[in-house]
Symmetry: none
Subunit: 230 residues, 2 copies
DNA sequence: TCGTTTTGTAACCTGATTGAAACAATTGGG
DNA sequence: CCCAATTGTTTCAATCAGGTTACAAAACGA
């Protein structure tokens, strides 16, 4: 699932620039020319990160940041400021609360993307990196290796993520749509039926007999379930 | 074990800011609003690093630093000053006692974290100094020499750091961004793809057949992994 | 300083991965 | 037993990620 970024910026040239480069880097971007609509929208669909220009019509960036920090459902979302004059930095950094970085204008596109990524990396919860063993199957996310019955098996990134997800949620049934939401990076344009294809590919790699799966079972009318083989 | 940082700062806004970002960067932070309680507490649980505001009630930063340097159990712990005026900096670093860096206010979170990390890196030396041997490859960081199949091989500084990093984290997959974070000095905004180029250069130096790497493997969709060749 | 080395980027190329589509097989209800 | 719904399987084009090379800029050394 792509990280989504809310950008509050009144200058259309700048916001176009920001959108273009962030989207190019794989983010979903939502633009707000004024600060007014931001809070309601944020509470409906929590963004992954905010980029706020300090000076915008309506609520300005500082005020927005304050509100974000005081709203419990949003308080932990990182905020990056766009500042025109470096002098403004004093106020932000000295007195204001919890901005996670600021980018002085003018900025290079690369710097923008790098800073956004750096902040996100700091906040990204480390996903389960511990190795996992289920019957004859060993999954090591840190090394991205899969071993089946002692044999090392190669997988593609998507296969690996899907298998890892199943293996860490033993016995639970997932619909195709749920899997797309949690495993696929960008769920937007993927057909649920593609999951079938990946299930097939995984079965070929882990099942002794792919036609009679012992691990990755079909649950007719619902989806798939991974279980420890008997 | 997380590095622990003692922060002496009376302004609550600033100390909150500092704590937030250092904790976000994976440090344990302990705040002292005045200089008084610092010394006793430091001797009980030695912090990894001090951050001292020069002007604080009670003992001020300079006085504290002097005492730290005179206390044998603490003398080797790095100290970073927070200064308001840049003019103060010279005195601190040049004439006064053993401060290891200073951060002028106002500072950006990024800068704060970067400097703390930089100082810690300078002090953590023993970690990465022991020679290392993996299969036919010998890496000696102290001498910055590389020997492959008995042949001495020259490397550039960046190549060496990257190889050393890989070799000390055998079997783990690193994304390009992670590698840029941990291997590349100062936070220049380097394109992730540059990592590819260095991987190529290293392969040419250590792999018998660079087209079929036995050590430095590509993990498609994830990054690279160094493994002991079979 | 000037020449050399190192560093990082851009461009192009190639092959692996991805996901949709088409068709086949299976299941379960009536 | 038949039908409709659901899932399985295979194929294939487009896309994407990584490899490679060449080169400009920066850093370095003499």
């Amino acid at each position: 699932m792509k990280p989504s970024i809310f950008v509050v910026e009144d200058d259309p040239d700048i916001s176009r620039l920001v959108r273009h480069h962030l989207e190019g880097a794989g983010f979903t971007v939502k633009l707000f020319p004024t600060g007014n609509a931001v809070m309601p929208e944020s509470e409906r669909q929590r963004p992954t990160l905010f980029i706020l220009d300090i000076m915008v019509p309506g609520k300005d960036g500082l005020e927005l940041c304050r509100q974000i920090r005081q709203t419990s459902s949003l308080a932990s979302i990182p905020v990056i400021f766009l500042t025109a004059k470096s002098g403004e930095a004093d106020r932000i950094l000295g007195l204001e609360l919890g901005a996670d970085d600021y980018i002085p204008k003018p900025f290079s596109p690369r710097e923008l993307v790098a800073r956004v990524k750096a902040v996100l990396r700091r906040f990204e919860r480390p996903l389960s990196q511990s190795p996992l063993r289920i019957g004859e199957i060993e999954i090591d996310p840190a090394a991205m290796t899969l071993t089946v019955r002692g044999q090392s098996v190669t997988t593609t990134a998507t296969e690996f993520r899907l298998l890892d997800y199943f293996a860490r949620h033993l016995g639970r049934v997932f619909t195709r749509d749920q899997l797309l939401d949690s495993v696929w990076r960008d769920t937007a344009y993927v057909t649920p039926r593609s999951v079938d294809v990946y299930v097939r590919r995984i079965r070929e790699k882990i099942e002794p007999d792919p036609e009679n799966p012992r691990y990755l079972k079909t649950v007719r009318g619902a989806g798939y379930r991974f279980e420890a083989a008997k």
